[in-house]
C-alpha cells in the first residue's frame, strides 16, 4: 500500500502528457489522417512552453502559475500552427501521411534545438520552477482513494481530466463528432452527405497539434523542467497507446495509464525492494514488448478508422 501510494503520483504525472498526445492522435486518426508527427509536435510544444514560461518567470517570479499557464497556452497555439504543415501536406497535397509526419518530427527535433542554441547558447532551455504538486482538500482525506488519486496532484492533471471528458462528449454526442468519425470511416459518403471532408480533417489535425503541444508543455511544467530537444519517444508511445486503446477515449485512458505505471515502476525499481530483483532491461523494455503483444492480439479485430492513412480524393469514388 505504501509502495502504491509512493508510485501513484509519479505514474499519474507521467500518464497525463501521454494521454494528451494520444487524445490528439485520436482526433486526427478518427478523421482519417494518421499523425505520426505527434512526437515532433510535442517537442515543439515543450520548446515553446520552455521559452515563454522562462521569459515570463523573469517578469512574474519563479514558479508563478500565471507564467506557467501562459507557457502552456503558447505551446497549444504553436502545436496547432505547426500541425498545419502536416495538414497541408497530407490533406491538400494528398502526400504520404507517414512521411509528412516523419518530416514534422525531424523538423521539430532539429529546428527547436537550433533556435534554443541561438537564444541561450546551449541547446537547453530551463524554467526555474514548475507547478508544485498539491493535495486536494477534503478528497485527499478519503481512505485508500485519497492518497492514491488526490494527493500530490498537478493542476494540469485536472485540466486533462476535463479535456478527456469534453473529448468523449464531442466525439460521441455532438454533430461535429459524428462528422469527424464519418470522415475517418467513409469520407466519400460523408462528402455525399454534404460534409466538407477537407475542413473537418484540417480541424482534426489542428486539434491533434494543439493537444500534442499541450502534452509537451505539461512534461516541461510538471516533471522535467528543462527542454533538451526531445521528449524521449513519448509521441510514438502515445501512438501505440492509441492503437492499444482501440481509438476510443476511455480505452486510451487505460492504455496510457498502463504505460505510465510501467514506466514509473521501471524508473523507481532501484529503490523499491520488490522490483529491484528484476533485471532493469526487462522492466524498461516491458511497455514496448507488451505493446507488441497487444498489437498482435488486437490487430485481427482492429477497430481502426477505415480511411485512416488514405488521402481523400474527391475524384475517386
Amino acid at each position: 500500500m505504501q509502495t502504491l501510494a509512493l508510485i501513484f503520483p509519479y505514474a499519474i504525472a507521467f500518464t497525463i502528457p501521454l494521454l494528451a498526445a494520444s487524445l490528439g492522435g485520436l482526433f486526427s486518426e478518427r478523421s482519417g489522417v494518421v499523425n505520426i508527427g505527434l512526437e515532433g509536435l510535442m517537442v515543439s510544444g515543450s520548446f515553446t512552453c520552455a521559452v515563454v514560461a522562462s521569459r515570463m518567470e523573469t517578469v512574474l517570479g519563479p514558479g508563478n502559475p500565471g507564467a506557467l499557464w501562459m507557457g502552456l497556452g503558447a505551446a497549444v497555439v504553436v502545436g496547432a500552427l505547426f500541425s498545419l504543415l502536416h495538414a497541408f501536406a497530407s490533406i491538400s497535397l494528398k502526400a504520404n501521411q507517414v512521411i509528412s509526419g516523419t518530416a514534422i518530427n525531424m523538423i521539430a527535433g532539429s529546428l527547436t534545438v537550433f533556435l534554443a542554441r541561438t537564444m541561450t547558447g546551449s541547446g537547453n532551455v530551463r524554467i526555474v520552477l514548475g507547478f508544485i504538486p498539491a493535495d486536494i482538500p477534503v478528497l485527499s482525506a478519503i481512505p485508500i482513494l485519497g492518497p492514491l488519486l488526490f494527493t500530490k496532484t498537478y493542476a494540469t492533471t485536472w485540466l486533462m481530466a476535463l479535456i478527456l471528458a469534453v473529448s468523449w462528449f464531442v466525439i460521441y454526442k455532438t454533430p461535429f463528432g459524428l462528422r469527424l468519425r464519418a470522415c475517418g470511416e467513409h469520407p466519400q459518403t460523408a462528402d455525399a452527405a454534404g460534409i466538407n471532408v477537407y475542413r473537418i480533417r484540417y480541424i482534426a489535425v489542428m486539434l491533434s497539434g494543439a493537444l500534442a503541444g499541450l502534452a509537451g508543455g505539461i512534461i516541461l511544467v510538471t516533471y522535467s523542467g528543462e527542454f533538451n530537444g526531445s521528449v524521449a519517444g513519448l509521441g510514438f508511445l502515445a501512438l501505440a497507446a492509441l492503437i492499444f486503446g482501440q481509438w476510443k477515449p476511455l480505452g486510451i485512458l487505460g492504455a496510457t495509464a498502463f504505460f505510465g505505471f510501467a514506466a514509473t515502476i521501471a524508473n523507481v525499481s532501484q529503490v523499491i525492494p520488490q522490483f529491484s530483483r528484476i533485471p532493469g532491461l526487462l522492466l524498461k523494455a516491458f511497455p514496448y514488448v507488451v505493446t507488441l503483444i497487444a498489437l498482435v492480439l488486437f490487430s485481427k479485430s482492429s477497430q481502426a478508422p477505415r480511411a485512416a492513412g488514405e488521402p481523400y480524393d474527391q475524384g475517386k469514388r
Partner: protein
C-alpha cells in the same frame, strides 16, 4: 521522362531546403552566404574532410537503402535505428571478445551484424505478415527495445575503461578502419565500410531490377492483392523484404560503431536511421539516387561542425535543412504538377 521528373522534384526539394536554411541563418543573425560557404567548405576542403564526408555518407547509404528497399515493397521501415543498434552491438561484441586473423574476423563481424539487423527487422515483418500488425508502430517499438538492450548490455559485459556509458575501444584488428585508407584521407574517419556500401548499392540495384525476387517484392508493393492473386507468396515476401532491409541497417551499425566510431555509446538512438528516410525519399527510392543523396547529406553532416566553428550558426542547421528537404520531398506532388505544366507548355511551343 519520369526519371527527369524525379530529378526535378528532388532538386526542387533540395533548393527549397537550402533556401529555408538560409532564411533561418538570416533570422538567427548570421550571413547565409558565409554560412553555406563554410558548410560546404567544411565538407569538401581537403582530403581529410572528403574522407569524413564519405564516412558519414557510408551509414546513410546503408540506412537509405534499407528504407528504400522496404518502400519498394510498400513497407515503411522506420526502425532502421534499432536494427543499426543491434548490428552495432553484435559487431562490438564480436570485435571485443573474439580473437582471430583479421581476414576471417572482419567478414565474420560484418555478416553477423547484417544477420542481427535482419533478425531485428524480421520480427516486425513476421508480425505484419501473420497478424497484420502495422510495421510502423512495430518497428518503433523494436527501436526502443534495441535502445534498452544496448543500454544494459554494454555496461554489463563490455564496460569502457573510464566510463560506464560506453564500451571498451575496438582493437585495431577488429576495426573497419584500414591504415592505407586512413593515410590516403589524412587521418579521417573513412573506413572499409564505404566499399561495402558501394557494393550494397550495386547488389540492391541488381536484386530490384534483374531478379525474380525483386519483381515479386515490387509486385507486392504495387498491389498486395493483385500479387496474391498472381500466385506470389505475399507473407513470405513481406518478411524477406523487411529482413533484407534490416540486414542493410545492421551493416550501417557495423560500419558506424566499429568503423566511424571507436566504441559504442549507450543512451543514443542513432539519427542515421531517420536520416535514411530522407535519403531514400530524396533518391526516389532508387539505389543510385540513394548513393547521390547520401553523399550530399554527408557533406552537410561533416561540414556543419566547421561552419559552427567559423560562424555563429548552430550546427543543428544541417539537420534542419535535411528535415525541411524531407518535407518538400514528401510534398513533391507540388513540383511534379509544376513540372507537368512546364513540359506541357514547352511541348506546345515546339
Amino acid at each position: 521522362m519520369s526519371r527527369f521528373k524525379n530529378l526535378f522534384t528532388a532538386l526542387a526539394a533540395v533548393v527549397l531546403g537550402l533556401l529555408a536554411g538560409a532564411l533561418f541563418m538570416a533570422l538567427s543573425g548570421s550571413n547565409p552566404l558565409a554560412g553555406f560557404y563554410y558548410l560546404f567548405r567544411g565538407g569538401l576542403m581537403n582530403m581529410e574532410r572528403i574522407g569524413n564526408t564519405l564516412a558519414s555518407a557510408t551509414n546513410l547509404i546503408f540506412t537509405g537503402l534499407a528504407v528504400a528497399f522496404s518502400f519498394k515493397t510498400g513497407l515503411f521501415n522506420i526502425g532502421a535505428s534499432g536494427q543499426m543498434l543491434m548490428g552495432g552491438l553484435t559487431a562490438t561484441a564480436i570485435g571485443l571478445s573474439v580473437q582471430m586473423p583479421r581476414m576471417i574476423l572482419l567478414p565474420l563481424i560484418v555478416l553477423a551484424a547484417a544477420a542481427a539487423g535482419a533478425l531485428w527487422a524480421a520480427i516486425p515483418g513476421f508480425l505484419k505478415a501473420k497478424f497484420n500488425v502495422h510495421e510502423v508502430v512495430a518497428t518503433i517499438m523494436m527501436n526502443w527495445i534495441a535502445y534498452w538492450t544496448v543500454y544494459y548490455t554494454i555496461p554489463a559485459y563490455f564496460k569502457g575503461t573510464f566510463l560506464e556509458t560506453e564500451s571498451r575501444r575496438i582493437p585495431p584488428l577488429a576495426s573497419l578502419r584500414a591504415d592505407w585508407l586512413t593515410n590516403i584521407f589524412r587521418g579521417s574517419y573513412i573506413n572499409l565500410g564505404i566499399f561495402f556500401a558501394l557494393g550494397a548499392v550495386i547488389v540492391i540495384a541488381i536484386i530490384l531490377d534483374k531478379t525474380t525476387l525483386g519483381f515479386e517484392l515490387k509486385a507486392v508493393g504495387f498491389n498486395r492483392y493483385a500479387a496474391e492473386y498472381a500466385g506470389i507468396p505475399v507473407s513470405r515476401n513481406i518478411i524477406t523484404s523487411l529482413g533484407i532491409s534490416g540486414a542493410l541497417a545492421g551493416l550501417a551499425g557495423a560500419t558506424y560503431y566499429i568503423g566511424y566510431a571507436v566504441n559504442m555509446q549507450i543512451g543514443v538512438l542513432p539519427t542515421a536511421g531517420f536520416d535514411g528516410i530522407a535519403v531514400a525519399l530524396l533518391g526516389a527510392n532508387s539505389p543510385w539516387g540513394v548513393l547521390a543523396s547520401s553523399i550530399f547529406f554527408g557533406v552537410l553532416h561533416s561540414g556543419k561542425g566547421f561552419m559552427n566553428a567559423m560562424t555563429k550558426v548552430p550546427p543543428e542547421i544541417g539537420d534542419t535543412i535535411i528535415a525541411i528537404i524531407i518535407y518538400f520531398a514528401a510534398t513533391g506532388v507540388l513540383f511534379t504538377r509544376l513540372w507537368e505544366r512546364l513540359t506541357r507548355r514547352w511541348g506546345k511551343e515546339a
